[in-house]
């Protein structure tokens, strides 16, 4: 979609998320209440189909359009699997399938496919407890399994989202097709989605802490006037800036290659970077807001807890760091600088 169309869509979505994803909704999802109305409205806006072809009833946006939307969703802690479903739909559409309605999720892990039967177990599948279907890629094949054919054991994430382990025992797939993204690529795309959500959440954390410091009065003046607080928030800003910059750079590089390939190294570096700084962002923001920010009452934890969970999703900084480090070590010292300037794995 062109720039204006995207901006308009993002503006509409921003207003919608502000109105409909407030504190109460996020908190009630944590109590296990599925916000059916919210999901229905999100579907009516076409958001889960943002990167699906118009011929398949989608919005016809690119990977970059989808990522921009999901960064925005991250800045609102949208408590439904919009990110997972949008990516699942993108992958299903690109594999020649027809995306269905209802929430989906991505289950990537040690799975095996025999004909159209899927077997294996994946831990920590986001929104496993509420997803109507699971989308996975095994080698080069995309497979979709209905919830009724999977065994789910609930294990909510530390952010209170309905994560869980999913087992497939010779489960019948409702669709299989040649995937535009192989299994490794699917993991990269999922990691990139999380990096963009983290960029959104980090942005919100900075805005929240900054705003709070201007309101909170101690010793007779707003704490924002204290140099100690100013310097903490400036340091926070530097970590938030790095998070945003790395995710956006990876989003650009990935989009240039499209779904099948492109920006592999940038994605790995961005997810490593975003995961690496999540703790700093959480720690400084909490310290700057004192006990208030540590309460369940305040919204800060909607974002800091997601940063802590998302840093581990689809590969932590250790996972992606090891991948980068192994490639660069193998290439030796002379490979380092040329690869870095080309945003490529050293070879």
């Amino acid at each position: 979609m062109d720039r204006d169309t995207r901006d308009m869509l993002l503006e509409t979505a921003d207003r919608f998320f502000t109105e409909r994803c407030g504190r109460e909704v996020v908190n009630s999802v944590e109590k296990g209440i599925w916000p059916a109305d919210l999901w229905k409205e999100i579907e009516e806006m076409g958001l889960p189909l943002i990167a699906v072809d118009e011929t398949k009833g989608g919005v016809g946006g690119t990977l970059a359009d989808m990522l921009a939307l999901l960064r925005l969703a991250g800045s609102h802690a949208v408590p439904v699997p919009l990110a997972e479903t949008a990516l699942a739909n993108l992958l299903v559409g690109a594999a020649g399938g027809q995306p269905a309605t209802g929430p989906s999720t991505i289950a990537l892990g040690p799975l095996s496919l025999a004909g159209n039967r899927l077997s294996g177990k994946v831990e920590r599948v986001p929104f496993a407890s509420v997803a109507e279907r699971f989308v996975t890629v095994v080698n080069g094949t995309l497979a979709v399994v209905a919830r009724t054919n999977a065994k789910i054991s609930d294990a909510p994430s530390h952010a209170g989202e309905p994560y869980g382990a999913v087992s497939f025992e010779n489960a019948v797939c409702e669709f299989t097709g040649t995937s535009a993204a192989n299994a490794e690529r699917a993991l990269e795309l999922a990691a990139l989605v999380r990096a963009m959500q983290m960029a959104g959440a980090a942005d919100k954390v900075l805005a929240t802490a900054t705003e709070y410091s201007k309101q909170r009065v101690q010793f007779g003046k707003p704490i924002s006037t204290f140099q100690a607080i100013q310097h903490m928030l400036a340091e926070l800003a530097s970590h938030v800036a790095a998070t945003i910059a790395s995710a956006e750079a990876a989003a650009r590089d990935a989009d240039e290659g499209g779904v099948p390939a492109g920006g592999s190294f940038s994605i790995a570096a961005a997810k490593s970077q975003c995961s690496d700084f999540a703790q700093k962002i959480a720690a400084i923001s909490h310290q700057s807001m004192g006990a208030m920010g540590f309460t369940h009452e305040h919204i800060l934890h909607h974002y800091t807890r997601r940063l802590w969970v998302w840093r581990r999703d689809f590969g932590s900084e250790s996972f992606w760091g090891a991948k980068i480090g192994a490639a660069f070590a193998k290439a030796g010292p002379d490979g380092l600088w040329p690869a870095l300037t080309a945003s490529k794995y050293a070879a």
Binding site: E248, E317, L336, T341
Partner: protein
């Protein structure tokens, strides 16, 4: 809620700049083994080599953005970016011309007289004229507006008295641009300050070494004792010194030298860990590489903004803050992982020396060119906190 906007729009260096990168690499591969440098096993932008700078000047890569009439090549700011990052990435001893190329030349181009430009700029681009920065004084560090060095108007010029400190390379370089008080009183702050071009051989100018904790002689104390500076050496208008010096600082903060001064540590870490490190060591190496990649993305984005005519002062401050702290983290993280995962004892001993040297130099990174605290003040203002 007003959300402070921190955007670093991803920016691609244009093809022309990437083509130049290839030329610079080929040149460095050929030239680096042949040039002499003053010290350091591993070079950077603070390692002087007049030899090297002259060779670079012959290629037209100093003052690359300046008008041709002054010896420049009229190339873009992004071409300059590529040249500087290639110098750093390939550990070139680029210290002799660095300051002249980065800030003194651009300052003269913007505010200097025609006579000054013609006399100085072609010599800078030829790699034959080197500059020092005359800002700090014994009583004026972060609080630059409190400078006391006084240039008293006398017939035909100024009589200068005072002391500048931390003047890197003054013992090797030809000129220094000094921020001095030309009118008013100490305490007038930004008013009455001017910048003057000082030939470091001027009678009455004395240069004494200030040795740093690593035993290196980079810094100097430059004292002015009734030194006569001709009127023709006033840069810009009398009293505009503060405005000029702040524009100079923007050049000083935004470049890749703020996260690549000790790039050699990362290179050597790759070497010492060998071709097939354990996953734990790979992960730590990879995280360091990812952070450096991010800094480069941010810095290139800032370059793109500057090329687009913006003045991203807050973004530049953020890059310097993050970049200099990265440079402090790097040798410490590297040291610990090398101790457990180096492939051979000999390599390890050598690497620990390198890392310790880097750690010893590291306190300077968050002080020079604006301390962390000054930078965070700038960012805080950008966040609307002051």
């Amino acid at each position: 809620m007003s959300i402070p906007k921190l955007e670093f729009p991803p920016f691609h260096l244009p093809e022309e700049a990437e083509a130049l990168r290839g030329e610079v690499r080929a040149f460095l591969k050929d030239t680096l083994p042949k040039v002499k440098k003053t010290e350091d096993r591993f070079s950077s932008w603070n390692t002087a080599s007049p030899d090297f700078s002259r060779e670079l000047g012959k290629k037209g890569w100093i003052g690359i953005t300046w008008p041709k009439q002054y010896g420049g090549s009229e190339k873009s700011f992004l071409d300059r970016y590529v040249v500087t990052e290639e110098l750093l990435g390939n550990l070139a001893p680029a210290g002799s011309h660095w300051v002249a190329d980065r800030q003194s030349g651009p300052l003269l181009l913007r505010f200097g007289s025609e006579e000054q430009r013609q006399a100085i700029l072609p010599r800078i681009t030829a790699g034959e004229c080197f500059f020092s920065i005359g800002m700090s004084e014994p009583d004026s560090g972060s609080d630059l507006a409190s400078v006391r060095t006084r240039a008293e108007p006398v017939p035909g010029g100024f009589r200068v008295n005072g002391t500048k400190v931390w003047t890197s390379g003054a013992h090797r370089n030809h000129y220094c641009i000094a921020l001095v008080r030309t009118s008013g009183q100490h305490g007038d702050r930004h008013k009455g300050l001017s910048q003057i071009l000082v030939d470091l051989k001027t009678p009455g100018v004395t240069i004494r070494p200030i040795i740093n904790l690593a035993g290196r002689h980079d810094w100097n104390e430059v004292t002015f004792n009734d030194a006569f500076i001709p009127e023709s050496c006033l840069i810009g208008n009398e009293g505009d010194g503060w405005l000029q010096v702040t524009s100079e600082l923007a050049f000083e903060r935004s470049g890749p030298e703020r996260f690549m001064q000790n790039f050699y540590v990362l290179r050597e870490l790759v070497r010492v860990l060998g071709r097939n490190p354990a996953p734990r060591a790979s992960a730590i190496l990879g995280r360091l590489i990812a952070r450096l990649w991010t800094l480069r993305q941010m810095s290139v984005a800032v370059a793109g903004m500057m090329q687009g005519g913006k003045s991203p002062a807050i973004e530049a401050a953020l890059v310097k803050d993050l970049g200099t702290i990265y440079q402090q983290d790097l040798p410490e993280i590297a040291r610990v992982i090398a101790e457990s995962d180096a492939t051979t004892e000999d390599d390890l001993a050598d690497f620990l020396d390198i890392a310790q040297y880097a750690t010893m130099m590291a306190p300077s990174y968050t002080i020079q060119g604006g301390t962390t605290q000054v930078l965070r003040g700038i960012v805080a203002r950008g966040l609307g906190l002051r």
